[in-house]
């Protein structure tokens, strides 16, 4: 499948050097070294105190027109979804949630500019970490590896859970929570010392991305479904240790929900109860008997 840049408005694709990095059913994701309106000279200059981390580059998310839809309907859908995503990205940023910074939006054309998050997805990071642990600690056997998993992977998953909790506490559900939609800033590797290295390694910061299917919802059910989707994602992409991983994420979630305020404790317990119910309803589960 070759990249199809032809639908991106030429005014933009001519002016900027864009690389297609991902194509989903709904949108194409392009990467740009250049900011859409801040010239590189300003970004690079030492005097520029007002632009953070220019080196990671920028992302242009493009929702192309869908020819198979009726024109008017397609235009409205594209505009609505683009705006919804942009608004959510901005509001979450204002609330202090870890998301890519929103830069600009063109709802008519279906474009969103945002900062790029330079780092692996949680999926990639777990795979890499598990592999590295296996290689370095094969002599120590399973118990040694499990201890290391606890030391290295658990803190990260706790913070992932906590970040999702912040999102849900704001009555926003992500809609597509998977380990591919959780990126890690400063999470390039286990560090030069490798798996057996120092314990002072920085825990990479999780960043939640892709709010194309996100919605506002106060219902514990919707939040439980959000968590269940993530749970299924762990089970399918990290089958061996998914039990531990999900447990840690949920632990971080419960601890981080509402930062322990009294009303929050009641709410999060409600969500956990709903999660149990949702699990029973899952695919290939019989509710008979």
């Amino acid at each position: 499948m070759s990249p199809d840049l032809s639908t991106l408005p030429s005014a933009i694709s001519d002016a900027l050097d864009l690389t297609l990095i991902s194509q989903g059913a709904e949108a194409k994701i392009y990467f740009s070294h250049e900011h859409p309106f801040i010239p590189s000279t300003l970004l690079a200059g030492t005097i520029s105190t007002t632009i953070s981390n220019p080196s990671a580059g920028y992302i242009l998310k493009y929702r192309p027109p869908k020819r198979y839809r009726h024109d008017a309907l397609d235009a409205q859908l594209t505009k609505h979804r683009t705006l919804s995503e942009a608004r959510i990205l901005y509001k979450l940023f204002l609330a202090g949630i870890s998301v890519p910074s929103f830069i600009a939006v063109d709802p008519r054309l279906g474009l969103i500019w945002m900062e790029n998050v330079d780092g692996p997805s949680l999926k990639e990071w777990i795979w890499a970490t598990e592999t590295e642990l296996e290689e370095h600690l094969c002599e120590e056997g399973e118990s040694g590896q499990s201890k290391k998993r606890l030391e290295i992977i658990k803190p990260l998953l706790l913070s992932v859970g906590s970040e999702i909790a912040k999102l849900h506490f704001l009555d926003t559900v992500h809609g597509d929570l998977t380990t591919s939609n959780l990126l890690l800033r400063d999470g390039s590797s286990l560090g030069a010392e490798g798996a057996t290295g120092s314990h002072q390694r920085m825990v990479p910061q999780p960043v939640i991305i892709d709010f194309g299917l996100a919605q506002q919802s106060t219902l514990p059910e919707d939040k439980a479904v959000d968590l269940y989707v993530l749970e299924r994602a762990f089970i399918s992409t990290h089958p061996i240790h998914s039990g531990e991983y999900v447990e840690w994420v949920l632990e971080g979630y419960v601890a981080g929900f509402g930062r322990g305020k009294k009303t929050a404790v009641f709410k999060v317990n409600e969500i956990m109860r709903k999660l149990d119910a949702v699990r029973l309803r899952g695919r290939k589960r019989s509710m008979v008997g």
């Binding site: 005014a11 933009i12 002016a15 900027l16 250049e34 900011h35 859409p36 309106f37 801040i38 010239p39 590189s40 000279t41 300003l42 005097i47 520029s48 105190t49 007002t50 632009i51 953070s52 705006l83 942009a86 608004r87 901005y90 940023f93 204002l94 910074s101 929103f102 830069i103 600009a104 939006v105 063109d106 709802p107 008519r108």
Partner: protein
């Protein structure tokens, strides 16, 4: 005579954006009068620097105005007035122009001019502005803008909640540039 900053927005490589900064301005009310009377010689965006956080903030407004112009969606009559309007987070044109634009008692000014490459100039932008503005031209940099900013005015203009800190100029710029980008949509 010091000249200001000229740059090109990456997405609009065929346009030049000129940004000038003036302090000790004595003829603000005259400029404002000429502006309001529609004198085409004053086709510049005159912005109150107290409302400005950074160059990136200015560029966010310029970008919004330019993209709206390209899409045929300008809400004011000229690109210059659209740039000032673009600074605001609301659809209220008069209110935004009053808050962010030049006032009779303004003693400093940030001036923006956008030229497409086709435009021929008999007089350089800086010479022209030097004739129009009675004040001291200083380089348009973040360092020079910073002391002129009144963060409380910024907070009021964008109705930024007290819980959101504006101490870090970089983070604060993100807050306002997001509001600029989402004007009319939030």
């Amino acid at each position: 005579m010091a000249s200001g900053l000229t740059l090109r927005l990456p997405q609009f490589p065929h346009s030049s954006v000129h940004i000038g900064l003036y302090t000790s301005v004595t003829n603000a009310s005259m400029i404002r009068r000429e502006l309001l009377s529609g004198n085409t010689r004053y086709s510049y965006a005159f912005v109150d620097p107290r409302c400005v956080l950074s160059l990136a903030h200015v560029l966010a407004a310029v970008y919004r105005a330019l993209t709206d112009m390209e899409a045929g969606g300008m809400r004011t009559r000229t690109l210059s007035s659209e740039i000032v309007f673009a600074f605001g987070g609301t659809m209220n044109i008069a209110d935004t122009l009053r808050r962010f634009g030049i006032n009779d008692d303004s003693d400093s000014l940030l001036v923006v001019k956008v030229d497409t490459d086709q435009v021929e100039r008999s007089n350089s932008v800086w010479d022209d502005l030097g004739e129009i503005v009675q004040g001291t031209s200083i380089p348009a940099t973040d360092e020079n803008i910073a002391p002129l900013t009144d963060v409380e005015i910024v907070r009021k203009n964008y109705k930024i909640q007290e819980g959101i800190s504006l101490d870090d100029r970089s983070e604060a710029t993100k807050v306002v540039s997001g509001a600029i980008a989402l004007r009319g949509y939030l």
